[in-house]
Symmetry: C2
Subunit: 421 residues, 2 copies
């Protein structure tokens, strides 16, 4: 038998019918002989309702009370799913974060997991009782409920899987796996059977919204095998996880060495929520970059791509960089406040840009990916405004109007198009 963790997000448990559907997915695995721990989110919409009340109570909520209120949504779902399982003849019980206990630091509302004392949880699961765990929450050093922040339930699931030494952590979501790119843009996009943690990390942080970055990082560190699959499949029509912990559906996120035939490029990601800032005719002198980026860092604004042109006159230069779109207004005001010091001629902000990235661990051993990419885009008349690279990805900044053309072009160029039958 395999010990598996199954995680279901808010849309998968949105109402009682959906929760009953989840119970069928779980029952299939139990019937096949697997031991199961389930991690659940709040019913879709509940968390927003709770946050709405908190914000109605005060503009500056105490994070400890915020957590005490907001964590209740997951507790409700865990109890209801345990009841649905029992009603289907499956032994089950709910676990709140403090009951495990899943221990966190004291950074309430964005807490990090410090330890999971999983002995009683593990012996309960191994005795054949399905554990239905309220995701997103743990207990802080002073005995208060702490929530894990955005993507918290995915992170709970991976941490629980590590603590239970699970064979597989199945993340059920509203898509049936990880694709070579967004199927809404490229109809020939293919589902990846396997993808490495590092590639998934790049895809997650670059705008493919299937998994939260934080949970993939934790899976990589703890060597937890993740599967991304759909909760909207008919529970009866899909095969159970095999008794050695393998799934034949969805996408497996795993160690590179589990992937035998590695493509050079695994996927094309894009991110529209970036904004571009340009400083025109800023002084080209030592220390100017520190003067620009120091204050932005202090303001907690994350700068991503940076391009500094070669100075034409030897005295001034243009500097371009990207920030999250939500932070653009703050970035502009931080730099305007320092205009006298920076002595730039003009400050421009733009949001009509998109970042497109080509990702693949195979790029480590294959030269020429960048050259091919730039040539093909140039042939299509797409102007590249900035470039950043890592060992396993190349990102470019282009005019937003060219987003679809660029993604489709690169998807074809690197052989990712699905062959039509």
């Amino acid at each position: 038998m395999a010990l598996i963790v199954m995680k279901f997000g808010g849309t998968s448990v949105a109402d009682m019918d959906r929760i009953r559907n989840v119970a069928q997915h779980v029952k299939r695995e139990v019937t096949a002989g697997n031991k199961v721990a389930v991690v659940v989110s709040a019913m879709a919409g509940r968390t927003n309702e709770l946050i709405g009340w908190v914000n109605d109570a005060t503009k500056t909520p105490d994070p400890k009370e915020y957590d005490a209120v907001v964590s209740s949504g997951e507790q409700v779902t865990s109890g209801l799913l345990a009841l649905c399982l029992q009603n289907d003849g499956v032994k089950a019980r709910s676990w709140h974060g403090w009951q495990i206990p899943l221990e966190t630091d004291d950074a309430h509302s964005k807490a990090r997991i410090t330890d999971i004392k999983g002995e009683s949880l593990k012996s309960s699961v191994e005795s054949g009782t399905v554990a239905v765990i309220a995701g997103f929450q743990g207990i802080s050093p002073d005995g208060r409920i702490a929530t894990l922040g955005r993507g918290g339930s995915d992170t709970s699931a991976v941490a629980i899987a590590a603590a239970l030494d699970a064979d597989l952590c199945d993340i059920y979501t509203d898509v049936d796996g990880v694709y070579t790119t967004d199927p809404r843009i490229v109809s020939k996009a293919q589902r990846l059977e396997k993808v490495s943690y590092e590639e998934m990390l790049e895809m997650a942080s670059l705008g493919a919204k299937v998994l939260q970055t934080r949970s993939v990082e934790l899976a990589m560190t703890k060597n937890v095998r993740l599967a991304v699959r759909s909760s909207f499949d008919d529970p009866a029509s899909v095969p159970a996880v095999s008794l050695d912990g393998n799934s034949t559906i969805g996408t497996l996120v795993c160690n590179e060495d589990e992937i035998v035939e590695q493509q050079v490029v695994s996927g094309i990601a894009y991110a529209k929520d970036e904004a571009k800032v340009t400083l025109i005719n800023v002084a080209d002198e030592p220390g100017v970059a520190a003067k620009v980026f120091g204050p932005l860092a202090e303001a907690n604004i994350n700068v991503d791509m940076i391009v500094q042109n070669v100075s034409a006159d030897g005295a001034t230069t243009d500097m371009t960089f990207t920030v999250p779109e939500d932070d653009l207004a703050r970035a502009i005001s931080v730099l305007e406040a320092r205009k006298d010091e920076l002595r730039y001629e003009e400050l421009k902000g733009a949001t009509d840009i998109v970042k497109v990235s080509v990702i693949g661990v195979g790029m480590r051993s294959h030269a020429g990916v960048a050259a091919n990419m730039f040539k093909e885009l140039a042939d299509k008349g797409i102007n590249i405004q900035a470039i950043t690279t890592s060992e396993i990805k190349i990102s470019i900044l282009i005019d937003a109007a060219y987003q679809e053309l660029a993604v489709r072009t690169l998807h074809s160029l690197f052989g990712l198009d699905q062959e039509t039958a």
Copy 2:
């Protein structure tokens, strides 16, 4: 200063505006120099929503999971009230049952409190931080959440008051105190300034719905002084509890010896939710009562008033008793199943009856109350179908049509009518 517990029920915390109003009541007490612990119910309607989901999940819910789901309502209110208090500049924190811990037995969904380890709660309250406690819940011996059943939040409040050795437990509700009778029936009903535990117990169990019987019993046992008052008063217009723990508004429920001028009769209660069962021509022989009431007790049906007529023929008799209206159908079917054994001629059930009770600790030392009562009712043409008495109350069963007349008549007879100005 006084240490007080303030309890607010579901209608008092029904929405954010009502919760802000509660915060004002609490702030008034803190500003006056009192130390405060608050016990809250779920926002009105939330518990029913949660129970609805539980019943949708399964017809036979596991009480442990029922408790895990249903207890979340109080947790939400406690966090939200703590946030409203903080927003008003009052130091506050929420406490869930397991955090105190308020320990219970393992009778989930109707658990009884076994112990309250209140040291950290008490030191927090005494340091000047308002404790906002989720009512209705505790932690069972196996570390699961247990709820206290009907009236649980009142019981939580009294138990917390006892554990904190509070000077007063203020029960805020939607009426402004305990009345000599229902003001909807008798416009001259008066608010009682003080009432003894024993009288309140009779009133609570006889249909005056202000306080749950269980919480009054606990208050009597633990000698906790209770005040019943309205959360709908303008928080700014009512005086704070005095620093020796006395309130000048509402009704104080206390020990008999705190009440100086005790009336003979304190109040008139009535209960409409009773039903009458009559067995006609049942065998008048030893053991027949056991044969009738044994099976009813086994079926967990509570029999209240019992009348057995003197036998006219020496062989058969009529027997009349009351049961809760909700149990009438079951009582009838239990007795029909035993018709051969009981050999009665006819079995009749009726719900067009009402129980009216006259209550007062002064009756212990005053003879003649019953005689006065029966004469006055006879003068009004009201036929008494059954009578039960205790040291401090006389209850009669009458035709439902005479309910208002009987209550008004007795209210006047025992000098309870308010003098008009």
